[in-house]
Amino acid sequence: MGLREKLEELRQQGLNEIENSEDLKNVNDIRVKLLGKKGPITNVLRGMRDLTAEERPKVGKFANEVRDELQRALEDKKASLEQAVMDAKLQSESIDVTLPGTPVAQGQPHVIQQIIDQLVDLFIGMGYEVAVGDEVEQEEYNFEKLNLPKDHPARDMQDTFYITPSVLMRTQTSPMQARMMETHDFSKGPLKMISPGKVYRRDTDDATHSHQFHQVEGLVVGEHVTMADLKGTLEVVAQNLFGDQLKVRLRPSYFPFTEPSVEADVTCFNCLGKGCGICKGNGWIEVLGAGMVHPNVLKMSGVDPDVYGGFAFGLGPDRFAMIKYGVEDIRDFYQNDMRFLTQFDQKG
């Protein structure tokens, strides 16, 4: 048998062995056996010196081809075996991806805080400052300076927790109006403020009444502030909180600190004015009270009503939250049931 034939036989035999090998060790053994320094191919190459000069390069070339081919076959086999090992490993590692993920600790802001934050952000964007006052107020600021003298019938509308005859739990966040107007330098521009916070009324708690609730009071005083500006501002608020297409409707009302005073209704966000259960069929939802600041209020805070004027509004985040989320019992806001608090977690 000539060298060429021998090589051919080695090639066939080698390829067969590689083909039939079953694991990586096996493949490695074959590699050492066939291609190692003492392996048959090396042996064959050693026998080349017996060949003619003419034949030598041909056989040499052939031997190299055989070696290369075997090497490739070994590598391919190795790769496919490795892949199989990996596949088996991955297979064994597979899990039930439908099992729930690991819980994460995440706290939520209170739903009323969310409404307040939304309003605060909106008004800051319109250039308002935020003024937070004391919850225990002087009667003078809670009532007198807001044009609510003693014995004014409108005081009956706001049953009050008194501490002493001159100190009380504020019934509205409006006292900050007077305090801010007193200190604001109008020569430097208008006063634009909102005042969010807790307020208190002497009320028996039930589904729709709470002795503690929240208010966001707004005030703009400057040289050219109109009722049209009030209407426009309230529309921005309504649309920001409840939806883009909503309209605002003003109705006459009465607050001692504003004149004219209005009640603002917003198109029912649920039925868009067609009438439904939420708006009790009339297509509008009453959301806040507002008006043009009463000249007496300006005067009492040292602001000249002949030069300056403005508007004020007061809205209730509790009521907003009740309307917006359909909360039926105002006490839910203050009992802090975890199941209630964690509901309002949508950030989108």
Binding site: A154, H224, D337
Partner: protein, 810 residues
């Protein structure tokens, strides 16, 4: 006020102009006053007709039922079984018949049937059965069926005979629009709103008596503050009886019960003019004089409702011979009330002080149609008009002799202050572009007199019937509402740019909330008012006498809180009773610390409360109950987030009586107490029926003013870090803080971090010892540390731990 559409229609051409009741109500709501509801008394009723009782005989099988043959239409007579006590008087009378198939107010459906064996084809009705409340249905028919006027036509629906086909617009007034508590006010406003002719009718009396009223009655008003206007008439020989149906209908549709013609007339005038009136039995007055005065403290007086009132000196009285005869403006007295025997009547029309009436009515809980009107003001222009018309009706309906003249005790002059207003200013306030003529047109409709003053200004004389208007801003409102709020444009303030934003305090509070939320605590908002005991618990500093309400509403909310934890524990208890086990709450808000000033110091605090476990139960995690170190970790992380620059220490505290003595730490900032953290006392938890609960509270005032770490980039070393672990056996009372402090102190310049990774106490250790294990991390910013450098530094630490803390290195 319950305003009758039919009555309005007598004075205003509403139907003629196709102004339907619902549209009218809507218009009022948008222009004048709010609307409670619009309804017809006949709503929900059907098949209720006029019948005539043709015969009555006793039910053979009953001692109180009768069998009535009732004609229900021409040629149709049916038998109806009736148990009303007054049915015996019903023969020949026109009655209210609910036919078979009729629906009553309470939803009952009338069916044809048999009552004790006798056929009954309907029901004879009392007013209550067709929707009248007990308070309104006339007393005479309280116990029986109603008899219609004889001219009612058999077979007709009954509603028109009872005024039930009317539509009632129930208005809800703001305190300033007292003028809308009368037909007069409503007619005036609607006439202006719709620009309709105003046909309001007034009846003047022709005095037909022979005597001078002034001779029959003396009135002296020593204190005109109580009664700025006080007038009366004397009417003799009245014949008491039922009022005509039209008058009864007016009253009951307005929610007032008809009583007799004298009282009904005073109530009619009250509705028509908003002028409350009172009638006294002239002959039962202690003397023929009237006066007003404040009550004596403790004075007794029996009111019309037969209740004995104990009066206070603020109360106001009408007196005769100095004896009280009426709680002025509120309720008359029983002893001088008009009754069946009354022949001669004193009619009073007055204005009483609104504040005094309000306080009196409120204190005695005697709110009435009269007091409500006095409280909101009375039109001084119509006091006499109303008195005269009342006399007119007593003449007409009770054959009274109206004696000569009005007796006047006091009289407030009718004033009208001229108000100057400018068109420019109106437009500047409303944001409109109204012209002078448009404004004049509005005043014309309102019947406000005005004169022009210059190109731009008007001087307006507002009639006394609109006592709510006194300044130009009030006129702006009139213009705005009649022009229509819907016609006012929507704009945004166009002014010099103002910068909005949160101030540093507000930013700090917001960051506080965000930090705690990010660690899994949910924001709670609890009640700031608690009971006295709760209010003083869990205070950071020793509790002081808390701020209390003068007149609380409920015993649960009497006192302003001095800590937030108390309220959070109420929340924990609320959750626990509702089987919510995992609780993680925080609250940021005010506490109220009295410090001797007029008002307490309001401090911003933040507090947290945790029970159960922070992470929801999971198949994937071992349930890990909240413990001291978990809540402390939150506090530490929070303080880290807030970049507090000073030294923060946690010092064991066993003195807080609401807290676990061995699991509580005071939190100090630069040596000053700013809060605490720990487990609430197990006994306290047991009393509250809550599980083991961990809490913290921090005074944010201290943190807000504390120095903050600058926000600066820290260089990250690119050279490798080297770590060394060390385990120490130390005495049990050696704290982690002592060890860590010492390690840092002696660690050398390359020590970057000391991390406690194990704490062990237990049987395997000698008594009184514990084992602590730390990883020390060394790193240089500019070079790779050598083994020797680290070994030297580590050896120094080991030596000092041995020397100073007597630690055994393991």
């Amino acid at each position: 006020m319950k305003v009758s559409y039919q009555w309005l229609n007598e004075y205003l051409p509403l139907e003629e102009n196709k102004i339907e009741p619902n549209a009218l109500a809507q218009k009022l709501a948008l222009t004048s006053v709010d609307i409670n509801e619009v309804y017809s008394p006949s709503d929900g009723l059907s098949n209720i007709v006029v019948g005539q009782v043709e015969s009555i005989k006793p039910h053979p099988d009953s001692d109180h039922l009768n069998l009535c043959q009732v004609k229900i239409s021409e040629g149709a007579t049916v038998q109806i079984v009736c148990g009303a006590p007054n049915v015996s008087q019903a023969l020949g009378k026109k009655v209210i018949v609910a036919l078979a198939g009729a629906k009553l107010k309470d939803g009952t459906k009338i069916k044809r049937g048999k009552i004790r064996g006798e056929e009954s084809n309907g029901m004879l009705c009392a007013l209550q059965e067709i929707g009248f409340s007990d308070k309104i249905a006339p007393k005479a028919y309280e116990e029986g069926i109603w008899f219609l006027n004889d001219d009612a036509k058999v077979g007709d629906a009954v509603f028109s005979y009872l005024g039930m086909d009317d539509t009632i617009i129930d208005t809800d007034l703001t305190p300033n629009r007292g003028d809308m508590l009368s037909m007069y006010g409503n007619v005036n406003d609607l006439s202006a709103i719709y620009d309709l002719p105003n046909n309001f009718k007034t009846y003047d009396v022709k005095e037909n008596g022979t005597q001078k009223a002034g001779d029959l009655l003396k009135i002296t008003i020593p204190d005109p503050q109580i009664a700025p206007t006080y007038k009366a008439r004397v009417i003799k020989n009245v014949k008491l009886g039922e009022s005509p149906m039209w008058l009864q209908i007016r009253l009951w549709n307005a929610g007032i019960r008809p009583i007799n013609n004298v009282v009904d007339v005073t109530n009619y005038i009250l509705l028509k003019y908003g002028q409350p009136m009172h009638s006294y039995d002239y002959d039962r007055l202690p003397a023929h004089d009237l006066s007003v005065r404040h009550a004596h403290e403790g004075e007794k007086f029996v009111t019309l409702d037969e209740a004995e009132q104990t009066l206070q000196k603020e109360d106001i009285l009408v007196t005769s011979n100095d004896e009280p005869v009426c709680l002025a403006g509120t309720m008359g007295g029983l002893s001088t009330a008009v009754n069946d025997q009354t022949q001669n009547v004193v009619l009073e029309a007055a204005i009483f002080d609104s504040v005094m009436v309000r306080k009196q009515a409120r204190r005695l809980d005697l709110h009435s149609e009269s007091s409500m009107r006095f409280e909101r003001g009375i039109n001084p222009e119509t006091v006499e008009t109303a008195l005269n018309e009342a006399a007119y009706w007593l003449q007409q309906l009770a054959d009274g002799e109206v004696e000569q003249g009005i007796v006047t005790g006091s009289e407030k002059p009718v004033e009208s202050t001229p108000i100057t207003m400018s068109v420019n200013k109106v437009n500047a306030v409303l944001g409109t572009e109204l012209k002078l003529e448009q404004i004049e047109n509005i005043f014309d409709r309102l019947k406000f007199a005005y004169t022009q003053s210059g190109d731009d200004a008007l001087v307006v004389n507002v009639p006394a019937r609109r006592w709510d208007i006194s300044i130009a801003a009030d006129l702006n409102e009139e213009i705005a509402r009649l022009y229509g709020y819907e016609n006012i444009p929507s704009t945004l303030p166009t002014m010099t740019r103002t910068l909005g934003g949160l101030n540093p305090r507000q930013k700090f509070l917001k960051a506080t909330r965000q930090s705690l939320q990010s660690m899994g605590l949910n924001q709670a908002i609890s009640y700031s008012l608690m009971n006295e005991k709760q209010a003083q618990q869990f205070t950071i500093d020793p509790a002081v006498t808390p701020m209390q309400l003068d007149y609380p509403m409920s015993s649960d909310h009497t006192t302003a809180r001095e800590s937030i934890i108390s309220g959070l524990l109420v929340d924990v208890a609320y959750n626990t009773t509702r089987q919510v086990e995992d609780i993680a709450l925080y609250e940021q808000g005010r506490v109220f610390i009295p410090k001797g000033g007029e008002r307490p110091e309001e401090q911003e605090h933040v507090a947290g409360a945790m029970a159960g476990s922070l992470l929801a139960d999971s198949w994937h995690l071992e349930k890990r109950p909240v413990d001291f170190y978990q809540i402390k970790g939150i506090v530490e992380r929070y303080l880290h987030n807030m970049a507090i620059a000073g030294t923060i220490e946690y010092v064991a505290d066993s003195t807080r009586k609401e807290m676990h003595p061995g699991r509580t730490a005071n939190i100090l900032l630069n040596g000053k107490l700013i809060g605490f953290v720990g487990q609430i006392h197990p006994q306290f938890a047991k009393d509250l029926k809550i599980p083991a609960t961990y809490v913290f509270e921090l005074n944010l005032e201290a943190l807000m003013v504390a120095e903050k770490l600058p926000k600066q980039y820290l260089h990250i070393s690119k050279y490798p870090a080297v770590t060394r672990d060390i385990a120490l056996l130390v005495d049990e009372d050696v704290t982690n803080e002592e060890v860590v402090d010492l390690i840092y102190q002696k660690g050398g310049q390359y020590l970057k971090d000391v991390h406690l990774f194990d704490v062990y106490t237990g049987a395997k250790l000698p008594a009184g010892k514990k084992s602590l294990a730390y990883t020390l991390t060394y790193q240089a910013d500019d070079t790779t540390l050598t083994e020797d450098q680290v070994n030297d530094a580590f050896a120094r630490v080991e030596k000092h731990l041995q020397d100073v803390l007597n630690a055994e290195i393991r």
